[in-house]
């Protein structure tokens, strides 16, 4: 990392996050040992939920970077002063923000493969749809970040001879991250949770397996079990999302500039 990063990420925050997650695991373990969660139920849950969690994480790891890439580019296009570049970007953002992600998933999963001629699996298209969805929101986040840099500094950069690219890299971008990271952390959490929509088209993620086990255990007729399943699923989502948002929060600390903006803690 270059020298303009003010401080290293604060250690205390990372410690806090990791210890929270550890405590959750310990609670789960205790619940399982003491029988608060029926060991029989647990035996049903373990393998599928782990597989589902893995898939959820995998989907997120695909969707978030893709969304970042597209979102950054589109956000930059929105920021451009040339209508030829900014106008299509605006149309993209407005349109994508207006369509529910579930609709985009259903459309992509069932109908896009027919059009494009790939009849094998609609799942990649559905995943792509979610990437497009988040990219529109990220585009707006980045655009706001670019616009938050005072115009005078851009002029000052140019006035010492920096090229447009250098102004972007050395003046605009570092200050953009300071503003965009909190909002991006938000968006990442949303992506992780929205990935649950893929279960509707049969992706075998956490929610999918939650439903499978739920259907299965209904045969046993124990209502508490069904509740337990969803509580555990929620907890797993929480852990994944929490780790991501805390990481982003820690990185935020690196971009703080002494004297600028108020510091919460």
């Amino acid at each position: 990392m270059t020298r303009w990063i003010a401080k290293r990420p604060r250690l205390s925050r990372a410690v806090f996050a990791v210890s929270t997650v550890l405590i959750l695991f310990i609670i789960l373990g205790i619940a399982r040992q003491t029988g608060a969660i029926d060991p029989l139920l647990w035996s049903f849950l373990e393998a599928p939920l782990l597989s589902g969690a893995r898939n959820t994480v995998m989907f997120s790891l695909i969707i978030i970077p893709l969304g970042l890439l597209i979102g950054f580019s589109v956000g930059w296009a929105r920021f451009s002063r040339h209508p030829i570049i900014s106008w299509p970007a605006t149309v993209y953002v407005d349109f994508v923000r207006g369509v529910p992600p579930l609709v985009m998933i259903l459309f992509s999963y069932f109908w896009l493969p027919l059009v494009i001629g790939n009849l094998e699996s609609g799942l990649p298209f559905a995943v792509m749809a979610l990437a497009i969805h988040t990219s529109a929101y990220q585009a707006e986040i980045f655009r706001a970040g670019f616009q938050s840099v005072p115009r005078g500094q851009i002029e000052a950069g140019q006035a010492v001879g920096l090229s447009k690219g250098q102004v972007m890299a050395s003046v605009i971008l570092p200050q953009t991250f300071r503003v965009t990271l909190p909002a991006l952390g938000n968006e990442f959490a949303l992506v992780i949770k929205d990935s649950s929509l893929l279960a509707i088209v049969g992706a075998m993620d956490l929610v999918y397996w939650g439903r499978q086990i739920e259907q299965f255990t209904l045969n046993y007729g124990v209502i508490e079990w069904v509740m337990a399943i969803w509580i555990i699923v929620a907890l797993i989502y929480f852990v994944i999302t929490y780790l991501v948002t805390q990481t982003v929060g820690a990185i935020e600390g690196s971009f703080r500039v002494p004297g600028l903006g108020s510091v919460a803690f």
């Binding site: 020298r3 303009w4 005072p150 005078g152 500094q153 002029e155 000052a156 950069g157 140019q158 006035a159 010492v160 001879g161 920096l162 090229s163 250098q166 050395s170 003046v171 570092p174 200050q175 300071r178 971009f255 500039v257 002494p258 004297g259 600028l260």
Partner: protein
């Protein structure tokens, strides 16, 4: 809006541009370093026409640098990093070289103790002096000052004017848009009075400010000196 300006500045000149608001002083300055593109006309630096389309605008701006009324320091960089950024990215100097030179420059403007301070931690006068150091760091041929003290609290004006005066003594060619008439009288080698997009009067500080010829110049000087 400029209506027609003919101006020649010699090396080592300290040219003060005075005039009422809207007379085009800032626009003139911004045409010179091409922050504003002139619709018509030619601008020359040492015989090279700088507003010719084939000339790299970045080259022009490293030789004709500007200090702004609002300082416009890079908020995410320390004072030293602000000063060193241009030399590193544009002049290709190494970080050590640029920072060593930067430290020296900050010393010269009296901020040797503040090299690691961020702009938000500095007073207006200190920020402007960093901006001046940042400009000088590029070893430019000309420095343009766009009302450098107009945004400052009165207590800080002197320290900034002192820094500019020192630059003048060191022989830097400067064009200063300013309302500080006593500064103009003591430091300027030439003064230009602008009104409504035109240059009305041109001459030594004595000629323009003490014995102005035009009515409007007289009126302006009278108002400023009150």
């Amino acid at each position: 809006m400029l209506k027609g300006v003919d101006l020649e500045v010699k090396q080592g000149d300290v040219l003060v541009v005075a005039g009422p608001s809207g007379s085009g002083k800032s626009t003139l300055l911004r045409c010179i370093n091409l922050l504003v593109t002139p619709d018509k006309g030619k601008i020359f630096l040492e015989g090279v026409q700088v507003n010719a389309p084939e000339i790299r605008v970045e080259w022009v701006r490293q030789n004709i640098v500007m200090v702004f009324q609002q300082f416009n320091l890079f908020a995410h960089l320390t004072a030293l990093q602000n000063v060193a950024l241009g030399p590193r990215k544009v002049l290709g100097k190494s970080r050590e070289e640029a920072e060593a030179a930067g430290r020296e420059l900050l010393e010269r403007v009296g901020l040797g103790q503040k090299t690691d301070a961020y702009p938000a931690e500095l007073s207006g006068g200190q920020q402007q002096r960093v901006a001046i150091a940042r400009a000088v760091a590029m070893s430019p041929k000309v420095i343009l000052f766009d009302e450098p003290t107009s945004a400052l609290d009165p207590e800080f004006i002197k320290e900034v004017l002192d820094a500019i005066t020192q630059l003048a003594k060191d022989g830097m060619t400067m064009i200063v848009v300013s309302h500080e008439m006593s500064f103009a009288k003591s430091v300027a080698t030439r003064v230009v009075f602008m009104d409504d997009g035109n240059i009305l009067e041109e001459g030594t500080p004595d000629e323009v400010l003490v014995h102005p010829k035009h009515e409007r110049t007289k009126a302006f000087v009278a108002k400023i000196l009150k």
